[in-house]
Every structure is written in C-alpha cells, then in structure tokens.
C-alpha cells in the first residue's frame, strides 16, 4: 500500500510537470495581456498534429523543434489579427473570442486530419521502462520531465535576464508606465503571446508521445491547466508551476483511495483554495 502511494506521488510529479508546462504558457499570456486564452488547448493540439505531419520529413527530433515554432507563428498571427483588437476591453470579450477559437481549432483539426486517433510514434529506445520495479519511469516520461525543466529554466532565464523578459515582467506590473517609457507595448504583447503559444505547442508535441493524437486532446488537457493557475495563484509563474505539480500529485494519490474522483479532486482543491486563500498559494493580492 505504502509503495503504491509513494509510486503515485512520484508519478503525480511527472504528470504535474506536464500540467505546469501548459499552465505556464497560459499564465504568461494572462499576466501581461489579461487575456484568458481558452484556445490554449487548441494550440496544443495543433502542435501535436504538426509534429505528426512533419515527422516523415524531419523525424521525431525535427518535429520536436519545428512544430512548437510553427505553432508559435500561428499564435503571433492570431494575436495580430484577432486578439489585439480586444485589449483594454472587458476580459469577457477576449474570453469569448478564444472560446470560439477553441471550437474552431478542434473542428479544424478534425476536418484536416480526421476524427480518428492517429498513430504518433516516438523513438523505440525512449519507450521502455528504465527498471522493472519502477516501471512507470519510462525513458519517454523522464525525457518529458527534462524538457519541461529545460523549458521552465529557459522561460525564467528569458524573464529574468533578457531585455524582453524585463519588459514583460514590468508590463505585468504596470503596462501603462512601461508604455510611457517608450517600450512598444504592441510588439511586447505580440512576442509574449507567441512565447506562451510556443509553450502550448511544445506541450502538444510532448503529450502526443504518450496520449492518442485526436482532436479532443486540447480540450481534455486545458482544464487542469486553469486549475493549476488558480491553485498556484494568478500573476505568479512559480505559483503556476507549484499548482501544476500539486494537482498532479493530488489526482495521483486519489487514484489509490477513490479512483473515480481523480478528476473531481482537482476541482475540490480549487474550491478550497478559492475559499481559504482566493489569490492562490503564491498569488498576488488584487489581481483580477
């Protein structure tokens, strides 16, 4: 019993790392632009489908590099053409827009690639478990954790050490002042949106290695990311990371005791956090 619980805690961390990767992109966009990007899951699915389509030409590794970049380019275009018009309005407008986009992406992928699951294959040597006892530690899952760690490290490096990151952070705190200081806020928001969507695309490519590649993959993964943000705290990227890991572990451990509630437990956690500490575990007071 103890072993099963421990295994599930550890496994939950792996799953949570993935939730965190999705949630970070979402959080980044929400913090700077105040846009609740419901279409994040759609971008994730497109990342996965692009990797599948590119694989015969550029291989698994090429897909891993190219697909998120192409998804980010799509994100830049969507921001430029659609999302940008709604900055400064009630967040409800952008929420409705991205909500509609989510449906369009899901049906779009269904139209282009078909409703049926597609067989996406990762290299054979990544597939086997590393040890027979710890069979849930497969090469691919460790690889995912490493990529997530690299992406998080890269993101925090960009935010803390580069000019773009400094501006994004400053803009998150006070966009008006940043704009008065001569920063082109439009470009800043555009780049920030692209960065967030890049993370969605990356999460998509990683996800389809162990999940079926199907049009609904985005909508089934988006909710845990929202929960991660709310639990971790709005406006805080470390909080989002923590939130992702926490809900991963919580749903893993719940499987041991009450398997049919693995999904519900996330929402119970969210409700509890909202009641006791509405700004989230590491969130700032007064956002949203």
């Amino acid at each position: 019993m103890t072993q099963v619980v421990l295994f599930n805690v550890f496994n939950g961390l792996i799953v949570g790392a993935f939730y965190a990767l999705m949630a970070l992109g979402l959080s980044l966009i929400m913090n700077l632009s105040g846009v609740i990007n419901f279409a994040h899951g759609g971008f994730l699915a497109i990342g996965g489908y692009l990797a599948f389509t590119l694989m015969p030409y550029v291989g698994f590794w090429g897909g891993l590099v190219l697909a998120p970049i192409l998804t980010a380019v799509l994100g830049l275009i969507v921001e430029r053409v659609l999302v940008r018009r709604l900055y400064g309005r009630d967040p409800l407008y952008s929420l409705l827009l991205t909500f509609g986009l989510a449906f369009m992406f899901e049906d779009g992928t269904r139209f282009i690639w078909g409703a049926q699951s597609l067989p996406y294959q990762v290299p054979g040597w990544l597939l086997s478990p590393l040890s027979s006892d710890y069979f849930f530690l497969t090469g691919y899952r460790l690889f995912m954790v490493v990529i997530v760690a690299l992406a998080v490290a890269g993101l925090f490096y960009i935010l803390n050490r580069t000019r773009l990151g400094m501006r994004i952070r400053a803009g998150t705190l006070d966009l008006e002042t940043v704009s008065v200081l001569g920063v082109n806020v439009r470009v800043l928001r555009n780049m920030n949106f692209g960065l967030g969507i890049y993370l969605a695309g990356l999460a998509g490519v990683l996800a389809v290695g162990q999940l079926g590649l199907q049009p609904t993959i985005g909508s089934s993964l988006i909710m845990p990311s929202f929960v991660a943000i709310i639990v971790g705290g709005l406006g805080s990227l470390p909080g989002t990371l923590l939130g992702g890991l926490l809900i991963g572990v919580a749903s893993g451990v719940t499987t041991v005791f009450f398997p049919s509630a693995t999904e519900a437990v996330m929402y119970v956690m969210m409700a509890a956090v909202l009641l006791v500490r509405p700004r989230g575990l590491l969130g700032e007071e007064g956002r949203f």
Binding site: R110, L127, T216, T255, T262
Partner: protein, 415 residues
C-alpha cells in the same frame, strides 16, 4: 413603343421568375420532401466518439444509396437526416431526437454510440411511438430491463461480448482479473457482465478502478493495477480513452508482465495506436476480413470506394440499422411503428446485409440482434495495412446471448 417594349420585357422577366419560383420555392421543396421516407440519425459527430460516429454515418449513407437504387421504402425515396448528438450530453441528444420527431416528422430514429444517450433517446422514442434502432450503444438495459416494443438494437449487449471472450481469456491468459472501467452506463454493465462470466468460468476479480470518461493519464491506475498482481488487466475503456490507456500500458512494459485484454475492441482504436501497442485479446463485433463469407468483399469494396478505407464494425452497424428500417417497412407494407416492430420479431437479415457466416436475427421479445462475434487478438501487422485483428474464434450469437429471461426484458405492446 418604348413603354410596350418595357412592359413586355418585364412580363418575360416575371414569367421567368415565376418559373424559377415553381422549381425553387420552399413550398414546393417541402411538399416534395414530405414524400420521402425520413430516417433521422442522432449520433455523435464531435467529441470522444466522433470517429466511430462518423463511421456509422458512412454505413447509413451507403445503405440509403442502395435502398434508393432498389426502389426505396414502399416506393418512396429514403432520406437521411443527420444531427450531432455530441458525445456525452444526454440533454442535447434528447433535444435533437425531439426535433427530428416533432419538426422533421421522421419515420425512423437511429442512434446512439453512447449508451447513456441511447437510453435517453429510447425513452423519447417510446413516448412518441417511433421505431428506434440503436446501431452502436451497448449497455444491456436497452434490450434488457428497460426494453421497449419499438426499440431495436444492432450491436451486441455488453453481456454478449463478455460471454464471448471469457472462455478463451481464462484458458489463454489466466484467472485473476483486474478491471479498468469507464465510469458510465456502458462500462458498469460490461464489467458486471464480465465478472459474472468470469466467475462462471472459475476466474476471480482481484481489483478494479472506475475511470472518468475522457481520462487522458492512466498511469496512476496502471500503477495500482500492477500492484494487485493480476494475470489479466481488462481494459473496458473505449474510443480515445482506449488509445490513451493502451499506449501508456505498453510504454510501462505491462504487456510483458501481464496479459492485456478486454471485451470490446474497435478497428478505429487499433488504427490510432502505434504498432507496438496493438496487442491483447478482444472481441470484434464485425470484421472486414472474412474470407469466404458471401457479400462481404462487395461491401468492403463499396465502402473503400467512398472513403478509401475499409469498413469497421461501426460502418456495418450504421449499414445494418438503416437497412433494417427499409426491410421492416417493405416487409410490413406499412410505416406504422407497431406493424414494422411486429414484422421484425425473429426477423433474419438477408445475407447481403448480415455479412456474417451464420447470419443475424432480431430475437423475438427482446428486439436484440443476435449476430456472430469475433474473438481474436490485435496484431501489429497483418495481410493488409488495415488488417490489424486476427480472428481466432467465431462465436455463434445464440451461444453468447444467454436466454431471453436472463436479458430481463419484459416487453409490453400497445393495446
């Protein structure tokens, strides 16, 4: 003069317009459409069951073409009306069923892939007295405890699938079973059916988990299943959930430690899996590769011509359901639901529709189609790219179906 010329032109234009109006006016169109016999399909086109729902639709479309080519239904043209029921929202499915019946005045109702939605639709059909055929919703109650005189089903009951696969599983894989079951009507009855069949054959249940529909990550369930040390892990998940669960189980190397199996498996799911994850013992309800069975090759060729792919069991469900409508009406020489339902009691589908070695018939007093079931195992590679299942045992329907009393159906007919 000019005035006359002008008015003549106007007259010509008006006449032309009137002519166009004769052909194109909505009134004329509705009047013509009313002559058609309407079959309403209320089935998922979006969500988890979109892929299987679309295959059922293709089967329905082929049947409609064939029916019309052979003179239609009672000499009238057959027309298919399609609504998206969604994959999991019973409210939407019921609302669409009511719309088809009340507004479109359909003569037959078809659907649903999702057992819970099929049950809800059967409730509406019973209330309205419309002939309802369930192509692919498996939960036992539809032709069991809540059976209705006007509700027929083409796919198997979950108990039939359980009865078909259990003997060979116990023999080849072992007696200790662990269940991973989707948490809704279909999963519950399928697991109950397997537990019953397993116990009858000397097996035991060592554990089981109910997983929410749409679960993406099965790792925590797999950890628990492995810890229970079973001989067989039984996967009862369907659609996208099946793909996710099997893909992860194989990545964990569980296929090398225990036997992975289940009851119902579908070609749609196997096609979505990478080759190394196409494993396990399963039941197929219909399979395209049946050498020597008459008419199967023609059916496969016609579907391939339409879609470029082989038909799946779902395609056949849609095909057989739609043809049942035509056969019922033409046989009863009536579109009255009672007459047609009576005609279908113990009705054998003709071989070109049944497409099975022993044929298929609707059992009297239950309205359940009793077909062949195909037990076998998934394979990474077969004789053709779409040949992903190796049939090892064709089970006769009556052997798997149990008795009419066991089904729990007590049918009452309208006075």
């Amino acid at each position: 003069m000019n005035d006359i010329k002008f008015s003549r032109r106007s007259l010509v234009k008006a006449a032309a317009l009137a002519g166009v109006a004769q052909v194109a006016s909505p009134f004329v169109l509705t009047a013509r459409a009313a002559d058609n016999v309407k079959i309403g399909l209320d089935n998922p086109l979006t969500g988890t069951y979109a892929a299987v729902g679309k295959n059922e639709l293709i089967g329905c479309q082929l049947a409609i073409e064939q029916i019309n080519a052979k003179g239609g239904i009672l000499g009238r043209k057959a027309e298919l009306l399609v609504e998206d029921s969604t994959s999991g929202d019973a409210g939407t499915a019921v609302q669409k069923a009511r719309k088809l019946i009340d507004r479109d005045k359909i003569d037959f109702l078809l659907g649903n892939v999702n057992s819970a939605l099929a049950l809800a639709m059967a409730g509406v059909a019973a209330e309205k007295g419309v002939l309802h055929i369930v192509p692919g919703g498996h939960t036992d109650a539809i032709t069991g405890a809540t059976c209705h005189w006007n509700v027929f089903r083409v796919c198997n009951t979950t108990q039939m699938e359980a009865n078909a696969v259990t003997p060979s599983l116990i023999k080849n894989a072992g007696k200790k079973w662990y269940y991973i079951t989707p948490d809704y009507a279909f999963g519950h009855t399928l697991q109950a059916g397997l537990e019953k069949a397993c116990a009858k054959n000397g097996g035991t249940k060592v554990g089981g988990d109910l997983t929410p529909l749409g679960t993406t990550d099965f790792s925590s369930y797999l950890i628990k299943a492995q810890a229970a040390n079973p001989d067989v892990i039984i996967f009862l998940t369907q659609g996208d959930d099946m793909v996710n669960a099997l893909k992860q189980a194989v990545q964990f190397g569980l296929d090398k430690k225990v036997h992975l199996a289940g009851a119902q498996q579908e070609l749609e799911a196997l096609e979505g899996l990478p080759p190394e994850a196409r494993i396990g013992t399963w039941v197929f309800e219909w399979y395209w590769n049946q050498p020597g069975v008459p008419h199967v090759a023609e059916f496969v060729a016609e579907i391939k011509k339409k879609t470029g792919r082989v038909p799946t069991a779902r395609t056949w469900f849609g095909f057989a359901s739609t043809w049942t409508c035509a056969l019922a009406a033409n046989g009863a020489k009536s579109l009255k639901a009672v007459d047609m339902a009576k005609h279908l009691q113990d009705f054998h589908l003709p071989p070109e529709i049944a497409l099975m070695p022993d044929g298929a018939f609707y059992r009297k007093g239950q309205n359940q189609l009793i077909p062949n079931l195909y037990v076998g195992h998934a394979q990474a590679k077969g004789s053709a790219p779409d040949d992903l299942f190796k049939v090892t045992d064709v089970v006769k329907g009556p052997d798997a179906a149990g008795t009419l009393e066991e089904s729990g159906c007590k049918m009452t007919w309208p006075a």
